[in-house]
Amino acid sequence: MTNGIADIQKADALFVTGSNTTESHPVIGAQIKRAARNGAKLIVADPRKIPLAEEADIFLKIKPGTSIALHNAMMNVIINEGLQDDKYIRENTENYEELVESLKKYSLEYAAEITGVEAYLIREAAIMYASAEAASILYCMGITQHTNGTETVMSLSNLALITGNIGKVGTGVNPLRGQNNVQGACDMGALPNVYTGYQPVTNTGAREKFEQAWGVKLSDKIGLTVTETFKAIDEDRVKMLYICGENPMISDPDTHHAERALDKVFLVVQDLFLTETAELADVVLPAASFAEKDGTFVNTERRIQRVRKAVEAPGEAKPDWIIFMELMNRLGYEEHFNSAEEIFEEIRQLTPQYAGVTYERIKNKGIQWPCPTLDHPGTNVLHAGKPARGAGFLKPVEHLESLEIGEDKYPLVMTTGRMLYQYHTRTMTGKTEGINLIAPELYAEINPSLAQEKGITDGEVVKVTSRRGSVTMKAKVTDRVNKEVVFVPFHWDSGANVLTNGDELDKYCKIPGLKVTGVNIEKAD
């Protein structure tokens, strides 16, 4: 997030898009509701009438995968009405003229046709967002999990930049990160192109710095992403896969393809349980849970917070860091840390954003990076005063229909997501009886008129089919979704991700288009 979570209470308008916040980030969802009840304007865009839509001043029930058209049309309205922040644009952005030119074709009528949202609502949303003193954008995987996810984010960034809604309290472009430490994992360079603190592996200076610190020669070749790995296994380019704490058999697209690859490769899985993925492994290593170790997690607002050991790990299970360290030693690389804190000390020597953070400083309260020195208080608002790169680049982006759309055989759009009671692949929540009683099984939300057309009644078993396969599940007949949309939560094995497309990836960041899958639905035999 460019801005901290507490900033939600300081915004005059909130634009929440592609985020079912009250279910996926419940505690932030509650804070958005509080802000709205205390007078902030709330605009919600989502293909489903999510709980937050009930609280919204304007709800845009958008067709999955059409956000760019919505954002471009909103910007077009803002410019036509003269609501842009000319001073901010002049002083802090570049490429404005090209952006304005690219927006011209996004009339309200054109956007309404693409998005399925009535033109006047798009106009009102644009005016509401641009008229606010401080407006904040909050988004999640509904924006990013598309084959043009990166460009969809760029269009949100354009929207914030032309209205000057960045770098100030209560504004920002704020992705809500879905996992406890996805921020920390990215910060640490658990990405194929960067070391810690986003220092590129292709940058000679950065590489030399890490070569010196680690005492070895390092590769300058960008590695493979998770989503590219299975194809690489198919093509015999990858022979061994070491997975720590992930369950691609449920979380990754196109389960059948993932399974073939995981079966073929020499697989090591390190986890708390014998997950669906671990069942396919050649070696399984027992790991300690968060309650059994000391360390840090970094939350969605870049706050580095302490994790503390409360109980002993069961049996011979060990914290992941001890396993890695022992394996490094086994491979002939001398590595001796006595605690996670000692590792953190090494991290902060190599990571400018973390340099001023110590366990002592975050004993009671976490600190938001960047925190470059020991007397620095941390940073709540990024791009304050000026965008970090100097001038915010306004990159024109165009609406592009997903390749999943348009085939008669698969006329409906399946979109996936989380529900309140289960978490991700259920490895943890699936162990709680009460959770399983409330959220016991896979289901598909379908619109009543689609149900009527297909002769499907609520609770009946249906078969959902895509180009990749078929899955049976219970139908939940509800007007939360429009007639052309089917929603399936992705928590269950042999479920939603059997149907999703793992081949078409975003060209910049290789994210799959999990939110748009062409499907058909029929009564099960």
Binding site: R34, N181, F297, E301, I304, P314, L327
Partner: protein, 348 residues
Amino acid sequence: MITLNINGFEVEIKEGSTIYQAASSIGVKIPTLCHDERLKPHGSCRICVVEVEGARSLVASCSTPASNGMVVHTESESVITARREILDLMLANHPLDCLTCEKAGRCTLQDLCYQYDIEESSFDGKKKKYEKDTSNEFYYADQTKCILCGKCVYVCSQVQNTDAICFVDRGFETHVGTPFDLGLAKSTCVSCGNCVAACPVGALMPKRKEKFRYWEIDKVKTTCSYCGVGCQMELLVKDNKVVEVEPVKGHSNDGMLCVKGRFSYDFINHSSRLKKPMVRKNGVLEEVSWDEAYDVIANKITEVKESDGADAITGFSSARALTEENYLMTKLMRAVIGTNNIDHCARL
């Protein structure tokens, strides 16, 4: 800024602050059952009454603004008499089952009765009796124990903003309930348990899987391991087992948790946790020593590096693991194995 005098001490505080806030700022503790900084002042329980010189009667410190020159006494004789009277009245309609009550040891009513020497009520009258609402999977509501402080109702409507519960009926019949008293499971309740955390007595309690007393447990402050909000929480531990989770006020969570962070911790002590390394032999995963598991992995890494190069090995790190662990896995892949094939589940 304004200046007032509390128990003989000068206090300087921002205009608009309450007497309670002024007292807290200099470490003077005023008892309260219904106060919560996150709520609009509602002055329901009256136990926080204090004496203000020149005022016609005692005032509720949690909802009375402090003013310049005010002289306040928080433990004067008339204050103590009033507090004893309030507790006496509360106890007249509260079961004296502290011996078996699960809240014992952390019940504000119990603590205050101890502090002000109220052993039992001097009033003998009708006592309320409600069936426990056990319809929620994770907590129960026992209206028989409710003191009507209103904290749960206002936490639900002003902090969690779910509006699942409300005051129902009037007078002696007043209780906290759900629409048409159909029970929590049929309400809009999202099982966050934030009302449970706010309840000062035993009226809202987590359903326990095993018995424990609050004085038997150790508390460990940590960060929730589910989504990216980073809620602060305390793990309550008895005999090397997490027996309950409670929210703590942190930057990002303002004292809240959700159903997963609060109630879905059974996985920690689950019988199906992996306890030993395993290696596949003749198609079956068999338990082995750590030494053997490391050997198998190290040998395979060496073999693949020799035959196909380091880039034929890929690692997936974890957005669920510690920052430090992510760092070390990238170091293992980059410095020891020699490839940039390291990624994690950020996109999924």
